[in-house]
């Protein structure tokens, strides 16, 4: 995949398929430490131990529509290409955490890309799921929690046109602050 934000969108699809109701996305761009960490956690059904060890194997999937499972394998490959790695922690009934890290300055590291597009896609298509987003860039932080937004909306659907429009603007500004800001 061309962008890390596309990997994130894809890995979150696994959480959605596992019937998660709360999904957290954590990104830490630690420039000084030259390390990029991406962590995706969910409260879905989890992965049985015997399956866990095959999980980043490109030929492993529990889907029936295609022979190969690719998402985790692709993400792991991207990380390993950049002096990084990917780890999956999970237990049945305990949810799943996928953690990938990259050497930040590695020449092969894909760009973050359109994080806003990824977040808007997730929220627009999954109004019933809650997302917690935490993004750190060089020590500055951006948090977003759809539960807080829903509380403010008082019953109005989070994926209505107008609300999505507002969210787009809100996320744009927050990311501009994070990346540019006063720095």
């Amino acid at each position: 995949m061309r962008e890390l934000s596309l990997h994130i969108l894809d890995i979150v699809q696994n959480s959605i398929s596992a019937d998660a109701t709360l999904i957290s996305i954590y990104i830490n761009e630690d420039i000084e430490g030259d390390r990029l960490t991406i962590k995706i956690g969910d409260n879905g059904r989890g992965i049985p131990e015997d399956k866990l060890m095959h999980i980043t194997d490109p030929f492993y999937t529990t889907r029936k529509t295609r022979e190969v499972g690719l998402g985790l394998a692709l993400f792991a490959q991207a990380a390993r290409r950049c002096e990084g790695d990917l780890q999956v922690d999970s237990g049945v009934g305990e949810g799943t955490v996928v953690t990938a890290f990259f050497s930040y300055s590695h020449i092969d590291r894909p760009p973050m890309g359109d994080i806003k597009g990824t977040l808007i896609s997730l929220i627009a298509l999954n109004p019933g799921i809650d997302f917690m987003y935490k993004h750190i860039y060089g020590g500055k932080k951006f948090f977003l929690d759809t539960r807080e937004i829903k509380r403010e909306l008082q019953g109005i659907e989070i994926n209505q046109n107008e609300v999505l429009g507002w969210l787009r603007g809100y996320i744009s500004e927050a990311l501009e602050d994070l990346y540019g800001g006063e720095g």
Binding site: L6, L9, Q13, S17, T65, I120
Partner: protein
């Protein structure tokens, strides 16, 4: 604590039901969000769909599906008008989205040259 958990579950079920009820009689758009779809540009197609809906103030339900085994035809986008066949468009680009929205969703005419599959109404 236990009962709060149960309440949460109940709320989620009710929300799902509400969603299903609200979507009855509305036009549906479904985007393929499997790995193959995402790699092929599903996110950009979805953004274009959302923006058209917002711009034209359409009352459309947008949802997602996983890999349906037509990976080489991704991004896939289905349109189903109320009571009509479910039409699957393949290799959809951002530019195609506007055509599909205007010709099919608004005017009710299927964009034949982009169709890759067709599911009869009620055949899900």
């Amino acid at each position: 604590m236990k009962s709060l958990e149960e309440l949460k579950k109940l709320r989620e079920e009710l929300q799902k039901e509400m969603l299903a009820r609200n979507s009855k009689g509305k036009t549906k758009i479904v985007i393929g969000m499997g790995t193959c779809g995402i790699a092929a540009g599903a996110r950009e197609v979805l953004q274009a769909v959302l923006q058209e809906i917002e711009k034209r103030k359409l009352d459309v339900v947008v949802s997602q599906t996983g890999c349906i085994g037509m990976c080489e035809k991704e991004p896939l986008l289905d349109v189903q008008l109320p009571g009509k066949d479910r039409i699957t468009y393949g290799n959809v680009t951002k530019e195609d989205v506007q055509r599909i929205i205007v010709e099919h969703v608004i005017n009710g005419n299927i964009v034949e040259d982009l169709v890759v599959a067709r599911l009869e109404e009620g055949g899900e």
